[in-house]
Symmetry: C2
Subunit: 150 residues, 2 copies
């Protein structure tokens, strides 16, 4: 559809983003959409960092998707810059609309524009649908993702 806009998230978008983060089998246990205080503080920190891109997809003035793109310089691979995609969410009403693809394509294009040589992300091992989705978009499931909660 033509009326989709992907743009940086403002403070007024945070409630809609948090509602999407919480509307998910894993997120429901981890988020607190009734108290935006910690999310607004995090948004300010992201907005102040030129390597952070917290984005929303907006259709007809309504936030229907989000992702976070982080640009990471590094020495490996002859000083290659890479990007990391986190926190991809599509509103329940929009699933199957191709919006997830649009969001990832945006992230890949923006990474290319910024000179990244590699785009990476991790997906919970239980999210089988997400794995097929990323493989269809050309990503290779070449790594194991390890996490340590503090």
């Amino acid at each position: 559809m033509n009326d989709l806009d992907i743009r940086p998230a403002g403070a007024a978008d945070i409630q809609a983003i948090v509602d999407m983060l919480a509307d998910d089998p894993l997120g429901a246990q981890r988020e607190s959409p009734d108290d935006l205080t910690p999310y607004l503080a995090a948004h300010q920190r992201l907005a102040d960092d030129p390597n952070q891109h917290l984005m929303v997809a907006v259709r007809a003035d309504r936030v229907v998707g989000t992702l976070q793109l982080t640009v990471i310089p590094g020495l490996s691979r002859k000083g290659a810059v890479r990007s990391v995609i986190e926190a991809v969410r599509v509103h329940a009403d929009e699933r199957g609309s191709g919006l997830g693809t649009r969001l990832i394509e945006w992230a890949v294009e923006e990474s290319r524009r910024q000179g990244c040589r590699l785009v990476q992300l991790t997906s919970d091992a239980t999210r089988a649908d997400a794995h097929r989705f990323y493989e269809r978009l050309g990503f290779q499931a070449s790594h194991i993702g390890f996490k340590l909660a503090l």
Copy 2:
């Protein structure tokens, strides 16, 4: 051993870091230790970014290990800050000395000091020894790591 120092990498350490990146079955095909130009540019960019910590482990004035720690704010998990460990390398002479453990323990402690709620990393699916190493240190292999080369 007591004489190990873990400190931020300076420009004078870059040759030793690149030599370690290249001394590896995967790195040998990807690095160019005879031309430091792109690595020095990357080092400057890392040094200018307060969320980036490119570290070296030094023993008796010799660089024997390295890692890169990136601090990533975000909205997920009630605005939790996370950290990402990349480019962990231990000099061939030091393997089995416990230096890898010291480096990861440093990264976990620094992440905790900076208020991170999660430490994450990805490891190539072919590096079986590395996977056992991270699991021994308490990391959970809960995710699949996807990469797209640009």
